[in-house]
């Protein structure tokens, strides 16, 4: 790791005021610290967001779920309030990384980083969540803009995500055998007759909604509705672990399984 100065923020405003130059916000650090360790990132300063009370916590009012950006994956996985309205999100959170990672990694950090193989972006997109920052509210559809790219501006901090729990949602992923990140993950949502299916781990430009899956499920929200679907390999990633063709197959298979496990 290159030399770095550490700053601990006490509030969102304090964090924003400390952000300058090449500074980076540090949430759980489950991606940033390894990246820095491998000397692939060289922020001169890191601003620790983990001690900011206002970023913590889960609130469920009726079907409206709000999760503070500093909430860890373990906390989401274990949240009875979320489980009651959207168990798929708890299932997703319980399968991010490993137990030690889930103790530190946060939802805000995950979506702000927008790793193309991260789980949360698929959920945010399919749930049509709203990403709140210290400056504005951004619809998930506008938030994820490319590989490790988001709509966040310099110094902008994710503070919370909000979504309305759908009638049904399900998530299934096929992990990369080595890294255990999603090689393909599909989050499906049925809400008032409309269907959204977001795919992570597979797209060349990051998380995306699959028109083919959504169209097929629109008539009948059942796994069998996907039997005849062909997911195009165009635009899917190809690497030594999985070709685009194989990922296209996984999109379909994971979508079927996500529908199979979807619950309200």
């Amino acid at each position: 790791m290159y030399s770095v100065n550490y700053h601990r923020a006490t509030s969102v405003a304090d964090a924003a005021s400390k952000a300058k130059g090449e500074a980076k916000y540090l949430a759980g650090g489950m991606t940033l610290i390894p990246t820095m360790k491998q000397r692939l990132a060289q922020p001169g300063d890191v601003i620790d967001l983990m001690h900011i009370g206002e970023l913590k916590g889960i609130k469920v009012e009726g079907k409206v779920v709000t999760i503070g950006a500093g909430t860890t994956h373990a906390e989401v996985a274990a949240s009875a309030a979320i489980k009651a309205v959207c168990p798929a999100l708890c299932h997703l959170a319980s399968h991010i990384g490993d137990p030690h990672v889930r103790h530190r990694g946060t939802i805000g950090g995950s979506i702000a980083n927008n790793d193309p193989a991260a789980d949360y972006p698929a959920a945010m997109l399919a749930l049509d969540a709203t990403i709140a920052t210290n400056k504005r509210k951004i619809p998930a559809g506008d938030f994820f803009t490319g590989l490790f790219e988001t709509a966040l501006e310099e110094g902008e901090i994710v503070t919370a995500v909000t979504f309305v729990a759908p009638d049904k949602a399900g998530y299934e992923k096929f992990p990369n055998p080595a890294s255990r990140y999603a090689m393909t993950g599909v989050f499906v949502v049925l809400d008032g007759g409309s269907v959204r299916a977001a795919v992570t781990g597979a797209g060349e430009t990051g998380v995306f909604r699959s028109v083919e899956i959504e169209n097929a499920l629109a008539g009948k929200f059942e796994a069998s509705a996907l039997d005849a679907v062909t997911v195009p390999a165009d635009g899917l990633m190809s690497d030594m672990h999985a070709s685009a063709d194989y990922r296209a197959n996984l999109v379909k298979v994971m979508a079927k399984r996500a529908v199979g496990r979807a619950k309200g």
Binding site: M1, P177, A178, Y246
Partner: protein
């Protein structure tokens, strides 16, 4: 704990320190004044070094020294060597290219060491290493062994034309061709054995300390054989004469072969300590381990197996290309030759065998022994082709094996080895029973109803362990003898220290070796200590690899214990005025048989040291040493059966059950032996399903250089294993031991691949059988 002898399932003595965080690994060592090193490494697979500018690095904060290859050479430090001479079939010696511990004018693989930076902290050393400006002129590179042999391929070493190190053969080629020509059925296969990275969890490390006052060097290193390290560093690398060099391998966190070799880093740390005047510690990070630890396997083979009309094997013909990487590592030449081709008869009576092996330089990390070393490659070959032949001949794989088993011993194979003992049918039967082979058909049907493809596969391995008779290996080209030493020191109060040249890096020697003395003299096992891993304490030893610590290391201890026992009995007889031949040892006392006269063990020990009343002419003391040179290899063998379910939608394989029935001869501690099998099987399943080192042929970069891309077996990739043993004692060593350290990794890969190919109905599948590959193979099979 108490008196724990041979056969006792006693918990390990060494565990206490490991479970409380008190283990002492090289990276835990702190020497006053110690500084930290980082290596500058080649980012290119092949390039000329046109200049090295260290001025910027030297000016960085905390930097104590920056040293490069030219200074190393100027100080007379020698090149790394391969210690096993192989001659090509035309009689010419192998072509060993120069390997300088720090590259001087050319780098030949990504990770090749170019310079060392010594600084106050590890972070500062790394900062400065990045600031060393090395100018390279890139050269074309080749990473695949078959490609490297082609005309026009990039050339690595001027010594080795066409990148060919040697072209070697074993067996009778004419007889094999003739037998093959007359065969009723010939099965042919093209087989790849995937390159693996050993991945001991403790990364390699070295701490070099030059003591100016004594003109003496100490090296703490992650070694499986510190004495060999000292010998080689003295005799070939000119670091220091042996009496001026102490090598200590303290707790070592796994080896699996990768810590046998003497690498550039320990040599350079010792030299740099003298140059800079400070103790120098280097600890690899994981990516350095991936890039620079010796890799394993990487064979390309064409194989044919001929049968007569009665399905008896008549001939086996093997043509292998083995990738040895950019330089010849210490034992690299013997792995694809005498540890491989000599085992090609497997468990079968095959009258004619011929193997041709070409070894090749490529722009990749050096390849050397990794758990099994040659024997997994041989076993994979035989057990894949036997299974394939059974499918082609439409006979049961078990029956085809049974029909061809060697059944009388000793058995001379056509490829050097003389098998001393075994009962292959016993392990086959035990494994088939344990797996419920008969019930497989129903399980397959049940799986089908759940949409899964279930398959079963077996492998009947044999290996050669306990390496090795020194004269025999000497005649085959080994540069060292492969005996082992031991010294048993009985203290004046009867406690015992056993000094051994074997090295434990997970094998539990502190327990099993102590069991030998505890059981024999009837003293509590806590009163027996094992001393190893330090050239100042143990005079000489050959170390631990090739599953040799039991068969060779413990045999040496037995020889020394015999001498101690004989002297103790003489003393006891003298004390009790009895005949030496009447003395027996029972429960910690030496008794006159048939009487109640006895003298406790500790009193005999005390008498030996007070020397007040010893038999006339006897020297005081109770300390004996022994060297043991084995009379033959040992031949562990067994049958492994794997049952898998494949998810046809994703290609993911789940190992449902894995059964191992091994014949290891006599067993000292069954708990530890089972643990060795578990670990070996996990590595074998890893090779079959998960692991593969992959160099990008275009860039020459190692694409699998971290756990993000190299799949290590994790707990949820594996089942619990069903292991059992059958026992035909080895007739060639005093304990009847065969060795158990590598069997798991040798027998399991073909069992797994035989099971998957059985499940999916497509035999065309290479390791690692990743989900993507299996999915593609299923699709290819359904298209036919």
């Amino acid at each position: 704990m108490g008196i724990e002898g041979i056969g006792a399932r006693v918990a390990r003595k060494e565990d206490k320190r490991f479970i409380t965080g008190a283990g002492r690994y090289v990276d835990d060592m702190v020497v006053p004044g110690m500084k930290h090193a980082a290596f500058v490494r080649s980012p290119h697979p092949h390039a000329e070094i046109t200049g090295i500018d260290v001025s910027k690095a030297k000016a960085m904060p905390g930097v104590i020294g920056v040293l490069a290859g030219k200074e190393l050479k100027a100080d007379g430090i020698g090149n790394l060597i391969c210690g096993w001479m192989i001659h090509s079939k035309d009689g010419t010696p192998m072509k060993m290219g120069a390997w300088s511990p720090l590259a001087v004018d050319r780098v030949r693989y990504v990770g090749d060491a170019v310079a060392i930076v010594v600084a106050e902290t590890k972070g500062q050393a790394r900062d400065a290493a990045e600031a060393v400006a090395v100018s390279y002129k890139e050269l074309p590179a080749v990473t695949d062994a078959a490609e490297a042999l082609k005309k026009g391929a990039p050339q690595l070493h001027p010594e080795a034309e066409g990148n060919l190190i040697f072209d070697w053969e074993l067996g009778d080629g004419k007889a094999t061709d003739a037998a093959m020509a007359g065969a009723a059925h010939v099965t042919k296969m093209h087989i790849l054995n995937n390159r693996l990275v050993p991945n001991a969890m403790e990364p390699r490390a070295a701490l070099g300390h030059y003591d100016k006052a004594e003109d003496h060097y100490t090296c703490w290193t992650t070694s499986q054989n510190p004495h060999v390290a000292r010998l080689v560093m003295s005799a070939f690398y000119n670091v220091a004469p042996e009496n001026k060099l102490r090598v200590i391998a303290p707790d070592v966190g796994g080896g699996f072969g990768s810590k046998i070799y003497i690498y550039p880093e320990e040599i350079v740390c010792l030299w740099a300590s003298k140059k800079t005047g400070v103790p120098v510690k280097w600890v690899a990070d994981r990516t350095e381990s991936f890039l620079c630890d010796a890799h394993g396997r990487d064979h390309i083979t064409e194989v044919q197996l001929g049968f007569d009309a009665d399905n008896r094997m008549v001939a086996l013909k093997v043509d292998t290309i083995a990738n040895l990487g950019a330089y010849m590592s210490l034992f690299s030449s013997c792995v694809p030759t005498y540890l491989y081709a000599t085992l090609l008869s497997g468990q079968y009576a095959i009258p004619a065998i011929h193997a041709n092996v070409r070894t090749v330089y490529t722009n990749t990390a050096p390849v050397d022994a990794y758990r099994g070393a040659g024997r997994p490659e041989a076993t994979y070959l035989i057990e894949r082709i036997v299974e394939t032949a059974a499918r082609e001949l439409n006979v049961s794989p078990a029956e085809l094996r049974r029909k061809n088993f060697i059944r009388s011993f000793p058995y001379q194979t056509p490829v050097i080895m003389n098998y001393d003992a075994g009962d292959y049918e016993a392990s086959l039967d035990a494994a088939m029973k344990a797996v419920d082979y008969a019930g497989f058909g129903k399980r397959r049907e049940d799986a089908k109803k759940r949409g899964k493809l279930r398959g079963i596969g077996m492998a009947n391995y044999i290996e050669a362990c306990g390496i090795a008779p020194s004269a025999a290996v000497g005649s085959l080209g080994a540069g060292v003898g492969l005996w082992e030493s031991a010294e048993v020191r009985v203290n004046a109060v009867g406690t015992i220290e056993i000094l051994t040249g074997s090295h434990s890096h997970g094998q539990g020697h502190e327990t099993t070796f102590a069991q030998l003395a505890s059981g024999r003299f009837g003293i509590p096992i806590e009163q027996v200590s094992i001393v190893h891993g330090d050239t100042d304490k143990v005079q000489m030893g050959m170390g631990t690899y090739g599953s040799r610590s039991g068969a060779v290391g413990m045999s040496a201890i037995v020889k020394a214990l015999d001498k101690v026992e004989a002297k103790a009995k003489k003393i006891a007889a003298h004390l009790m005025e009895a005949d030496e031949g009447d003395i027996v040892i029972e429960n910690g006392t030496l008794k006159v048989a048939g009487t109640d006269k006895n003298v406790p063990w500790f009193q005999v020990a005390l008498a030996a040291y007070t020397a007040h009343n010893l038999p006339a002419g006897m020297e005081p003391g109770l300390k004996e040493g022994a060297f043991y040179d084995p009379a033959n290899f040992t031949f562990p063998a067994g049958c492994y059966i794997c049952e898998v379910e494949v998810d046809p939608d994703t290609g993911r394989t789940e190992v449902i059950q894995f059964v191992a029935a091994d014949d290891f001869g006599n067993i000292i501690n069954p708990m530890i032996v089972e643990g060795q099998v578990h670990g070996g099987v996990a590595q074998g399943i890893g090779q079959a399903l998960l692991e593969g080192a992959h160099y990008d042929p275009a860039s020459g970069q190692l694409m699998t250089a971290s756990y993000m891309d190299y799949t290590m077996p994790r707990a949820d990739d594996l089942p619990s294993f069903k292991v059992s043993t059958t026992n035909t004692p080895c007739p060639n060593n005093p304990l009847g031991i065969k060795g158990c350290g590598e069997a798991g990794a040798i027998g399991s890969p073909p069992a797994v691949i035989n099971a998957i190919t059985d499940a999916i109905g497509n035999n065309d599948l290479t390791m690692p059988a990743t989900p993507q590959k299996v999915w593609a193979a299923i699709r290819a099979a359904t298209k036919h």
